[in-house]
């Protein structure tokens, strides 16, 4: 069995729950993994040691990990990780790191894995319009999509060793830019409500924002909406040339369901579609379809969700 190494996912200065999913994936690929926690404060690594199915935890401590620098991070992590199969999450930063680590070791990288069967790995291609299964032999770096593998349970007590890392930053953050919106980004939200050109005008996105604020959702948009209205930023775009998302709930409002858009959201766990055109392709992918104008449906939805949240 191969040695496996999990690079812990860190968010807001703590171990992200996705890390326990990576541990499950690693156990499918080989022996119980070593979990490497890139951190400034080694105490955050303690919570990783409680994940079952790991052999040990390395708290890799350095000021380097305050901001992401691909070269610096890859150098520091490569220095402590033994050879084997490395597993990371599949968010943009982790995929970038995965590619760096693989290149550094002259081993291949397989991104966005959603299924593991022996040495065979399956990932979506064409933004999920098709799936590709590849065979691997030997060491590799593998990024794993979130919400696919069951999280390994808590209750473990692996040893934690603290290692001081060194590395040089090749880039420097000059300033963090103020976020235009305090709402969640579509890439990190568990619920997304998206509008299309059927919303009629960008001002009407305020109705989507109201619902988003009620249920803690992010607001997304179709390419048609982003291309038509300057007020709708590309950072909101869901689809093959925007962001690929797989939230628990995706609510599509005034979106017809172009292939381009479906590619970016079809793997959502539940899909609700609101569209006045009963023949819109989006309905073929919806768990719950509502044939109505958004003017009719959104106030009712808003009222019902508000009542539930109180």
């Amino acid at each position: 069995m191969s040695q496996t190494i999990v690079i812990a996912e860190i968010a807001k200065g703590a171990i992200h729950p996705t890390t326990a999913e990576l541990v499950t994936a690693a156990n499918t690929l080989g022996n119980a993994p070593i979990v490497i926690v890139p951190c400034e404060d080694a105490t955050i690594a303690d919570s990783a040691s409680a994940i079952q199915g790991i052999s040990k935890v390395i708290a890799l401590k350095s000021e380097l990990f305050a901001t992401y620098d691909a070269l610096g991070w890859a150098t520091a992590i490569d220095a402590v990780a033994p050879s084997g199969i490395i597993v990371t999450s599949a968010n943009p930063q982790s995929k970038d790191l995965a590619a760096r680590l693989a290149a550094r070791r002259n081993i291949p990288v397989v991104q966005d894995v959603v299924a593991i069967d022996g040495g065979n790995l399956t990932s979506p291609i064409y933004s999920g319009k098709a799936m590709q299964t590849v065979s691997t032999s030997g060491d590799a770096v593998i990024s794993v999509r979130a919400n696919i593998f069951t999280a390994s349970a808590q209750g473990g007590s692996a040893d934690v060793s603290v290692v001081d890392a060194t590395g040089d930053m090749a880039t420097a953050v000059e300033e963090f830019l103020a976020r235009v919106s305090t709402r969640l980004d579509v890439a990190e939200a568990n619920i997304i409500i998206s509008g299309g050109r059927g919303m009629g005008s960008p001002d009407n996105f305020s109705h989507l924002e109201k619902i988003a604020d009620t249920i803690g959702a992010a607001v997304g948009a179709s390419r048609a909406a982003v291309d038509t209205w300057d007020e709708i930023s590309h950072s909101m775009q869901v689809g093959q040339t925007g962001k690929t998302v797989n939230p628990n709930l995706y609510i599509a409002v005034g979106i017809s369901g172009a292939i381009q858009h479906l590619a970016g959201m079809r793997s959502s766990k539940y899909i609700v579609a609101i569209n006045k055109d009963a023949d819109a392709p989006i309905f073929q992918h919806a768990d719950y379809g509502i044939v109505a104008t958004w003017e009719e449906a959104l106030p009712v939805l808003q009222a019902a969700l508000s009542a539930m949240m109180n």
């Binding site: 691909a70 070269l71 943009p92 970038d96 590619a99 760096r100 693989a102 290149a103 550094r104 081993i107 291949p108 990288v109 991104q111 990932s123 979506p124 291609i125 064409y126 933004s127 319009k129 098709a130 590709q132 299964t133 065979s135 090749a170 880039t171 420097a172 953050v173 963090f176 830019l177 990190e188 590309h234 775009q237 093959q240 040339t241 690929t244 709930l249 381009q260 539940y270 899909i271 609700v272 609101i274 309905f283 992918h285 919806a286 768990d287 719950y288 379809g289 509502i290 044939v291 109505a292 104008t293 003017e295 009719e296 449906a297 959104l298 009712v300 939805l301 019902a304 969700l305 539930m308």
Partner: protein
């Protein structure tokens, strides 16, 4: 004066329906285009040239059919077009080594590429070649300004940050605020006459092999309701049946 390289890839049009036959994607009747994010990379490369002087070389990897994307890049304004002749599947390790060899030969100061190709969506090539070259890299930038260093805006810690990048570096481009220029008639005429510099290479062996392609599992048919009032019932089902609210 900057020696600038931009990487471009030919992919199926993102509006195309993907068909599988014999466990393989069948692209025979699909329109092939430049991967959309590569258009932003070409634009950023041209803006860099305009700011600092120098030349832009577009590189692709593929068979003769892929010359089309190089001609498209030429029509928009790149100076040189290079195709690394390799038409079969190679893994990331093999692909990156042939591209980084070509970049070293050209002696580039900076390489631009799209944040991910629209076919694999992997986004491995940019950071991978940066590592092989020992260079800095920043991925998914949404804007760039050019002086001695390149200053970019890229996602960081849940928001965006302005990041200064010391060259040489590989920079991958998202759509962001980058507006791409269209080819003019003169550019299109020049592109028609332009010669593609074809480099033959022997790619290192791949340890990854494609076993099969398949369509994603289709979902069972959902429930459909008529009229806006039904939104209340759907909201209740999202809580009681789907457990997502």
């Amino acid at each position: 004066m900057a020696n600038i390289v931009v990487l471009v890839k030919q992919v199926p049009d993102t509006n195309a329906r993907i068909v599988i036959s014999d466990n393989r994607v069948d692209l025979s009747s699909v329109k092939m285009v430049m991967s959309p994010y590569d258009e932003f990379a070409v634009e950023t490369a041209l803006q860099h040239r305009e700011a600092s002087g120098g030349e832009v070389t577009a590189i692709t990897v593929g068979g003769a059919m892929a010359d089309k994307v190089l001609k498209d890049a030429k029509a928009i304004g790149v100076d040189h077009i290079v195709r690394i002749d390799c038409d079969s599947f190679v893994d990331s390790n093999s692909l990156q080594s042939i591209i980084s060899n070509a970049i070293s030969e050209i002696g580039a100061d900076v390489v631009y590429c799209g944040k991910a190709a629209a076919d694999t969506g992997a986004g491995s090539t940019g950071p991978g070649i940066a590592e092989r070259l020992g260079w800095a890299s920043v991925s998914n930038i949404i804007s760039a300004t050019f002086a001695d260093n390149v200053s970019v805006v890229a996602p960081a810690q849940g928001g965006n940050a302005r990041i200064s990048v010391t060259l040489p570096a590989v920079i991958s481009c998202d759509k962001g605020n980058i507006k791409v220029r269209k080819p003019n008639v003169r550019g299109i005429m020049q592109a028609k006459k332009a010669q593609v510099d074809v480099k033959s290479v022997s790619a290192p062996a791949s340890s990854i092999n494609v076993i099969s392609h398949s369509l994603p599992p289709s979902k069972p048919a959902g429930k459909t309701y008529e009229g806006g009032e039904s939104a209340a019932e759907v909201a209740q089902l999202l809580r009681d049946e789907a457990n997502v609210i």
